[in-house]
Symmetry: C2
Subunit: 232 residues, 2 copies
């Protein structure tokens, strides 16, 4: 494992407060692996053996049932995922696949649980991380139950705009099929959503999107800080 990767991990809020010796032990037990795109890392229903830390790339968490599939979250580095399953020593509720070439740090569940027991600061960080995750799902659920798909799309664009520097220009980090699934719609519907939004200054050129009437788009989307604000 490279020095700067270790520093990256160390910089994650989850690990930042940990005692050095515990951190070292954890890193010693961990594996850093690189995966090609579209590789399934996790199959829902399988036991959670490793905490995953996404160092580089992009990972989709998705759920399946009755032959259907839906994207639930898209993880961007650096971040951890499937923390809850590992802590509970339970099976995965979500599957995961890479969307791009990705480097993932795999920390054995037993080591994680041990570190968590012996390091109060680490336990505290885990708790905050999990609380953030929890609130993230709640926000997603609210968006899903309280908004139409067009509103979800509009809010997604506005949020991306903020994240990407509020220049009125954004690049979709994920392909449209995945975006559609993430927003709870079909690819066809997403496409129609974009054309509906052209009246609100949204123009699409492949993965490049420009927002020329932010006021109008705001008006339509009516962003809600309790759904869209990542700081909450």
């Amino acid at each position: 494992m490279r020095i700067d990767d270790i520093e990256l991990v160390r910089g994650l809020s989850l690990f930042a407060e940990m005692e050095q010796q515990n951190f070292d032990a954890l890193m010693h037990a961990a594996y850093l692996q690189q995966f090609p795109p579209q590789l399934q890392l996790i199959n829902e229903g399988d036991p959670a053996d490793f905490l995953h830390v996404l160092i580089e790339g992009r990972v989709e968490l998705f759920g399946t049932a009755k032959g259907r599939e839906s994207a639930l979250f898209v993880m961007h580095p650096p971040s951890t995922f499937i923390l809850a399953a590992v802590l509970k020593d339970a099976v995965h509720l979500m599957s995961a696949r890479t969307l791009a070439t990705s480097r993932v740090l795999l920390i054995p569940a037993s080591n994680l649980r041990q570190a968590f027991k012996s390091d109060a600061a680490f336990a505290h960080s885990i708790l905050l991380d999990l609380a953030d995750s929890y609130r993230g799902v709640v926000k997603t659920l609210k968006g899903q139950k309280l908004r139409t798909s067009l509103e979800r799309l509009a809010n997604y664009l506005l949020l991306q705009n903020d994240i990407q520097g509020a220049m009125g220009r954004i690049d979709l980090a994920i392909d449209k099929k995945t975006l559609a699934s993430l927003l709870g719609m079909t690819p066809e519907n997403l496409s129609r959503g974009f054309s509906t939004l052209s009246a609100y200054g949204v123009s699409v050129d492949g993965p490049r999107i420009t927002l020329s009437k932010l006021e109008d788009l705001h008006q339509l989307a009516k962003p809600d800080s309790l759904i869209d604000d990542p700081a909450n």
Copy 2:
């Protein structure tokens, strides 16, 4: 606070492992209050000042946006809610109201955070409780994105049947309007859902429901342990 209430709280997995002295301190700082039905306990956006422990009654957690409202969870005693917001010292993402006369134990957030810092076993319990909550939301989200409303209804009935003794007879603990909202549908649609399910042996008499063709209902619902099984 009555002795048996204290014992009830002590019996919650969240508090069971706590050191006695810390538990006593926490209980000493807490308030037990009784609320009438339909009283709003929490307004989303407000700061989370108290951890709520539902001792008796029924509480609905719901979200609002753009004038719409949707039930997200219905809490049954004994259970805690809004743990994440309290831990993070953040604002509430969900509102809460009583559905019935309810007794709720209110534990000041600062005391909770302090107890959590000084009691490792308690921290561990909190973590597991939060992990459970997290997985609960994920399951709800999966149900919402992967199922039709009729499937959600069918699975809800099957789950209630299991919980209530698998006698093929269940009592709705919440009124149909709230149930509709919880399942992500309108009251009208819920009513139609029930009549559609009559072909699957579901008959409704007010809050009393009988399931006479469990096989058929199963066939339709196709329960998924990664969505419906509370043990996961």
